[in-house]
Symmetry: C2
DNA sequence: ACCTGAACACCGTTCAAGT
DNA sequence: ACCTGAACACCGTTCAAGT
């Protein structure tokens, strides 16, 4: 007993994420991850649990990768900045990003992200009976766009066009959010 | 030679779709489909090609499943009806539906669906320099919502709440489309 | 023309065994 | 405590062979 570990959870997730970035999510197999770490597949189970748990770990990593908006931004501006940061994460991690559209907001980190959106909506003046719904619709529109983009639905269009589409989406969200406010914050 | 075929493409796709509906997309394996047809996996290759081609076939089936809107609806009303029909298809075929967010509009059927959306936008008065972009944003918002719903992102919310969210989305799309018209059609 | 058997290179996962 | 070997039940796909 007391054998020094040759791998750890962080290293396994690093390797799995790198593999996903390079070759897509389907390249993330227990064997491929293990082989890159110089270990057999069975060694991974102690550190990350099974395959599903490994994917959960990657989603957690994804959320950690999202840059927080500068704290002097609030309301619609903050919302737009968060959407841009989310898109940057999507572009850095195309393979893993689509998993976000699948999971309910359940982990502490995901709940924290949602709380930021809710706060921005409240500052923008969204009626309190509407914040939940608005948060879901705004998040869905932004996630839907980024997932479409990174998973290739727009691959027949030049990047320039897609960038302009995203700018317009942000513009619409900003406008939507401010049009629906009951009263200015101060 | 001249042996009578025991299976055909349509039957293979029927079986694959049924399997996806019952147990999700990951249950659609060549072996499972074949076994349900009373045949070995290798028999499928002649009729549907490989696994990727089989999935393409399922996506085609999905588009065929979408009800066309009543022909006396035009503009925003038509758009809303198409979105509702798309959602119904998503609910009938939860397993396969998310593939739509992955694929570019390339098949004849998919191009036909897009043309309907474009036409509805034009009738609603969307400026011709904006129809392409608007079509992409509207489709993305609707697909993003339905994929979220059928793949479980909203599973912590009661159906009633999700239905209300969708109604609001349609309302916003209808309003958005008519606010941005340059001139009434007649 | 259509289907199969055998074969290959993969998957995820378990469990007892080695150090 | 940590890793492995052997084993199991799966994957998708090919190719020559049977009818």
């Amino acid at each position: 007993m007391g054998r020094p570990p040759r791998i750890d959870r962080a290293g396994v997730l690093d390797t799995a994420m790198a593999l996903a970035d390079e070759s897509g999510l389907e390249a993330v197999t227990m064997q491929a991850v293990a082989s890159r770490l110089g270990v057999t597949p069975m060694a991974l189970y102690r550190h990350v649990g099974d395959k599903a748990a490994l994917l959960d770990g990657l989603v957690e990593r994804l959320l950690l990768d999202v840059d927080s908006p500068s704290p002097d931004l609030t309301g619609p501006r903050q919302l737009m900045e968060m959407a841009r940061a989310l898109r940057a994460t999507g572009q850095r991690h195309r393979g893993v990003f689509p998993l976000l559209l699948t999971r309910p907001v359940a982990t502490p980190l995901a709940m924290q992200v949602r709380a930021s959106v809710v706060e921005a909506l409240e500052v923008a003046g969204t009626g309190s009976d509407r914040v939940g719904q608005t948060e879901r619709l705004v998040s869905t529109a932004v996630l839907g766009f980024i997932v479409s983009e990174v998973s290739g639905r727009f691959r027949n269009h030049p990047r320039q066009v897609i960038d302009a589409d995203f700018d317009r989406l942000l513009e619409l969200l900003g406008g939507f959010v401010t049009h629906h406010q009951d009263r200015q914050p101060d």
